[in-house]
């Protein structure tokens, strides 16, 4: 086994046993990334020097017998919409081209304190708006399983880098599916935690009532190890819950799904799915039954039919407000202008890409005088209705199973000029954000032409342990998905 292929758990064990050093692991991951980057373009920047220094410090601490943090020596990558002190944080936008944050995102601090080593920052759809990572101002990321396909989005670079073996874990953010859909497209685990489990301090805000940070990993165990670190409480994010967190590693010990009720949504069963996604979904239903779970059919009529228009009113509305801060005065790009208003208008016209402009415009419209009641207020009510349906559903089931997306990874360019078709890829993921629930995508096989097929489990609020135990049992039954070779044989 090559060092870049190791999981988080294997790196921790190997360092303790002195099988290899943290410097060796970091170099192996860095070499792997540098070899594949010309084909995959998952990263916007490397943190090679600081990373090497940290790896050497871990080795020194190991040699002198110091106590190490729980993720000491494990390299990772974060999506470039999370602040890293003194390291460019671009959100894949021209408007933040040169910007270096004055502080770290809470999750970056938590990982740093745990001894994990930042290796680079990942590409995304500009400001996390998109489902393919094609809407980046700095180039398109390729799917490491099939280079002519997209890796999904918006956390496409984070997903691709874990799938291709650059690092054993990365962080993404999920506002409407931006962790789960790329995890499905890239054949790895992706978790969108319950709203409020992970601090959002230092995550550049897109839609504050929907955004949540979560990990990508190649094993279920790694998911628990990373979640234990990033889900710490944070006094500086008032939306971060004060409830006590469990030890997520314990969830990995489940030996069956006996006594668990897993819901299948009637309305998704009738949805037109790609036949191979349907096959992967059916196979996963069978797996749940074999593990002893009871399968229950449930009805959630509003989420499939109306979740999408509801989301595409609320998310742009929040985005139009959050992105008002990019004004050419305080950070990033600033165009020459004679008046202050002109400075705003020109900077924003030059700095934002087409999809971001679309959403700012739609968001401004639905909040504007005369349209607020007709759109924004109606969508807020629909959101309540969707939440209410989930509350009822979780009275009769513990977990819900559905596909992550209706199709596997699509081709680059296929949907980029058809925004509404692109939005459709989120149909199964965005209701989870509207309700604030946790959702986990896992790999359930590959299509005949080699594209990963993902399915999604939705837990009840704070039900991450349920999701992790299902992931662990699934991995035990089907094995760990292989690492993508990025077109290199």
């Amino acid at each position: 086994m090559e060092l870049f292929e190791l999981s988080v758990a294997q790196i921790i064990e190997g360092l303790q046993n002195r099988t290899f050093s943290a410097s060796e692991v970091f170099k192996a991951c860095l070499n792997r990334a540098k070899m594949l980057e010309p084909r995959i373009s998952a990263l916007l920047s490397f943190t090679e020097e600081s990373g090497m220094a940290q790896a050497e410090a871990v080795d020194k601490a190991l040699a002198s017998g110091e106590k190490l943090g729980p993720l000491a020596g494990v390299p990772f990558i974060v999506k470039d919409n999370m602040c890293t002190k003194g390291i460019p944080t671009t959100c894949a936008s021209k408007i933040l081209a040169q910007w270096k944050p004055p502080y770290n995102a809470a999750v970056v601090d938590f990982l740093d304190e745990a001894g994990a080593i930042l290796m680079g920052k990942a590409n995304l759809d500009e400001f996390a708006m998109g489902g393919s990572t094609e809407h980046s101002a700095y180039g398109v990321t390729s799917n490491p399983w099939k280079l002519d396909c997209v890796p999904g989005g918006s956390s496409g670079g984070s997903a691709a880098s874990v799938a291709a073996g650059y690092v054993p874990f990365s962080l993404g953010s999920d506002t409407g599916g931006s962790i789960r859909q790329p995890a499905a497209f890239c054949g790895i685990y992706g978790l969108k935690p319950t709203y409020g489990l992970v601090s959002r301090r230092g995550l550049v805000a897109f839609a504050s009532s929907l955004d949540q940070i979560g990990p990508f990993t190649r094993t279920a165990e790694d998911m628990a190890l990373v979640l234990d670190v990033i889900s710490q409480k944070d006094d500086h994010d008032s939306t971060c819950s004060r409830r006590s967190r469990p030890d997520y590693k314990k969830a990995l010990r489940a030996d069956s799904l006996k006594g668990r009720k897993i819901g299948l949504i009637k309305e998704t069963l009738g949805y037109k799915l790609d036949p191979e996604i349907k096959e992967a979904f059916d196979k996963t239903v069978k797996f749940c039954k074999e593990q002893g779970a009871e399968i229950v059919e449930i009805s959630l009529p509003t989420m499939i039919e109306y979740g999408l228009p509801c989301y595409y009113i609320l998310a742009p509305a929040e985005a139009s407000s959050n992105l008002a801060r990019f004004d050419g005065v305080r950070y990033g790009l600033s165009e020459d202008a004679a008046s202050l208003i002109d400075l705003y208008m020109k900077t924003r016209a030059e700095g934002f890409g087409v999809e971001v402009k679309r959403r700012i415009m739609v968001g401004t419209y639905v909040l504007s005088s005369g349209y607020y009641d007709a759109y924004y207020l109606v969508a807020q009510k629909v959101r309540q209705l969707i939440k209410r349906e989930f509350v009822n559903a979780f009275k009769s089931v513990d977990t819900i199973l559905l596909p992550t997306a209706p199709t596997p990874a699509f081709r680059k360019g296929e949907l980029v000029n058809d925004p509404i078709q692109m939005y459709m890829a989120d149909v199964f993921t965005l209701p989870v954000n509207l309700a604030g629930l946790p959702g986990l995508s896992l790999n359930a096989g590959f299509s005949k032409d080699g594209r990963p097929l993902g399915v999604q489990f939705i837990g009840s609020w704070w039900g991450e342990e349920d999701l992790l135990s299902i992931a662990a049992l699934h991995e035990k039954a089907y094995g760990t998905a292989p690492i993508a070779q990025g077109g290199v044989c």
Partner: protein, 97 residues
Amino acid sequence: MAVSADDIRHVAALARLEITDDEVQAMHQHFEEILGYFNRLNELDLEGIDAFALKVDEEIPWREDKAVQSSVREDALDEAPYRHGDFFRVPRIVEED
């Protein structure tokens, strides 16, 4: 609700986005499509639903109102495109007599 090209220009002005005629046209088409889609929500019976009901299952946390030292001021100002001493510099907004 039909949208006109002038509506698009008005929204762009509200959003502080300079917009070209080509962009107005493209945005107009996008609005027509997506608003048609949004209007589907009117099929639902939303009588009696509180739009802003929050599912509060824990108390909203408060912390002590205590001044703490923040060290980001200089770094933040340093990242501004134009600074003047301890201020962000912008084009003149008040005309001289």
